[in-house]
């Protein structure tokens, strides 16, 4: 039954992602315009969308590149931004089964916030399957490539970006990603500390290194604050908040 329904499940996955397209397409277009603004060729812009396939870290890559950051700092920033995938993989792995078609190392390539979110919900609702996840992943991947091509074409007809302050879109993009995530007072504290740290550190370090150090400081603080809260009724962990 599963076997005969393989392609039907792939199609269900493809369709399940359609409601997310309106949120994804403008981001992909914006990324490609930013990349072209930052001096990336259309080919390199597309390569980022194909190989990285993760919006925020692609924007981070071109932002840092434009600010003259070194390759090591950029790649480490991308690594930090994508570490959350580890949690998705851990959470999804038991559902997939021991053997998958295609093999799970190939499936891993399609693991994104969106595909994880929709697939795990489907598994919890009883309708999840490997082909469903595959459909989700392929749906997002194809739309992401099309959005990137569209943005590349738009980006190449725009006038001298720096002269009209178009570089401000970089900052606005990250602000727009940040705002919906600030949901508790701990997030506010982490954001405030990160803002001060980033402001100070960018005067002493290249962009990529400043981002890395800021994340290490601010995310550790956030984790410590949360440990202090949960630690009230559990044995105290080392590394207090104060």
């Amino acid at each position: 039954m599963r076997r005969s329904g393989y392609w039907r499940d792939v199609r269900r996955g493809l369709v399940a992602m359609v409601p997310l397209w309106p949120g994804v397409v403008p981001f992909g277009v914006a990324f490609a315009i930013l990349a072209r603004t930052a001096g990336f060729s259309a080919l390199a812009t597309q390569a980022l969308s194909i190989f990285v396939f993760a919006g925020a870290s692609q924007v981070a890559t071109v932002t840092l590149y434009a600010s003259g950051a070194g390759a090591v700092g950029i790649v480490l920033t991308v690594l930090l931004l994508n570490l959350r995938h580890l949690l998705y993989g851990l959470s999804l792995r038991p559902w997939l089964g021991a053997r998958t078609r295609p093999p799970w190392p190939a499936l891993a390539f399609l693991l994104t916030d969106e595909a994880y979110g929709v697939s795990i919900r489907e598994y919890l609702d009883g309708g999840g399957s490997v082909p469903f996840f595959l459909g989700c992943g392929l749906s997002l991947f194809s739309v992401w490539q099309l959005a990137t091509i569209t943005g590349s074409l738009l980006g190449s007809v725009l006038p001298n970006p720096k002269g009209i302050g178009l570089d401000f879109i970089f900052a606005l993009t990250f602000l727009a990603l940040l705002v919906p995530l600030v949901r508790s007072w701990r997030h506010v504290v982490v954001t405030a500390v990160a803002a001060v740290a980033a402001f100070v550190l960018t005067h002493y370090f290249a962009g990529g290194v400043a981002v890395l150090l800021t994340v290490l400081i601010a995310a550790t603080l956030g984790a410590a604050l949360e440990s202090a809260k949960t630690g009230a009724d559990a044995p105290r962990e080392s590394g207090g908040a104060a």
């Binding site: 403008p26 001096g39 060729s41 080919l43 390199a44 190989f51 990285v52 925020a56 981070a60 932002t63 600010s67 390759a71 790649v75 480490l76 991308v78 690594l79 931004l81 570490l83 959350r84 995938h85 580890l86 949690l87 998705y88 993989g89 851990l90 792995r93 038991p94 799970w104 190392p105 891993a108 390539f109 302050g165 879109i169 900052a171 606005l172 993009t173 990250f174 602000l175 727009a176 940040l178 705002v179 919906p180 995530l181 701990r186 982490v190 954001t191 990160a194 980033a198 402001f199 960018t202 400043a210 981002v211 800021t214 994340v215 601010a218 995310a219 956030g222 984790a223 962990e237 590394g239």
Partner: protein, 104 residues
């Protein structure tokens, strides 16, 4: 030469991203330490702030326009729940204020 560097950068960034994607699958059913899990939860907030600040707090003639644009963009995103709404509103206000202040 520039394009080759950019392609190499894309490949390297893609490689580390793939490692994070397959890493969770490889770890299988093992449990992540609680502190590490909490740290990961705060990485996006910290990173997005760090990537936003240098482009807004520029300490130049454009800074008032940038901060005004950022404030309006934040409200637009909270209100409409759409990334593009923040970009459009933020750029519009930024350009308006920058032109009025002769900072563009």
């Amino acid at each position: 030469v520039t394009q080759t560097q950019q392609l190499a950068l894309a490949l390297a960034a893609g490689l580390v991203t793939y490692v994070t994607r397959i890493g969770g699958f490889l770890l299988g059913t093992r449990k992540v330490p609680a502190f590490a899990e909490r740290f990961l939860k705060y990485v996006p907030v910290a990173a997005f702030t760090a990537l936003f600040v240098p482009g807004a707090v520029t300490l130049d003639a454009q800074m008032p326009a940038r901060l005004a644009g950022a404030a309006v963009a934040a409200v637009a995103v909270l209100w409409l729940r759409q990334l593009w709404a923040g970009l459009v509103a933020g750029m519009a206000v930024f350009w308006l204020v920058a032109v009025l202040m002769h900072a563009l």
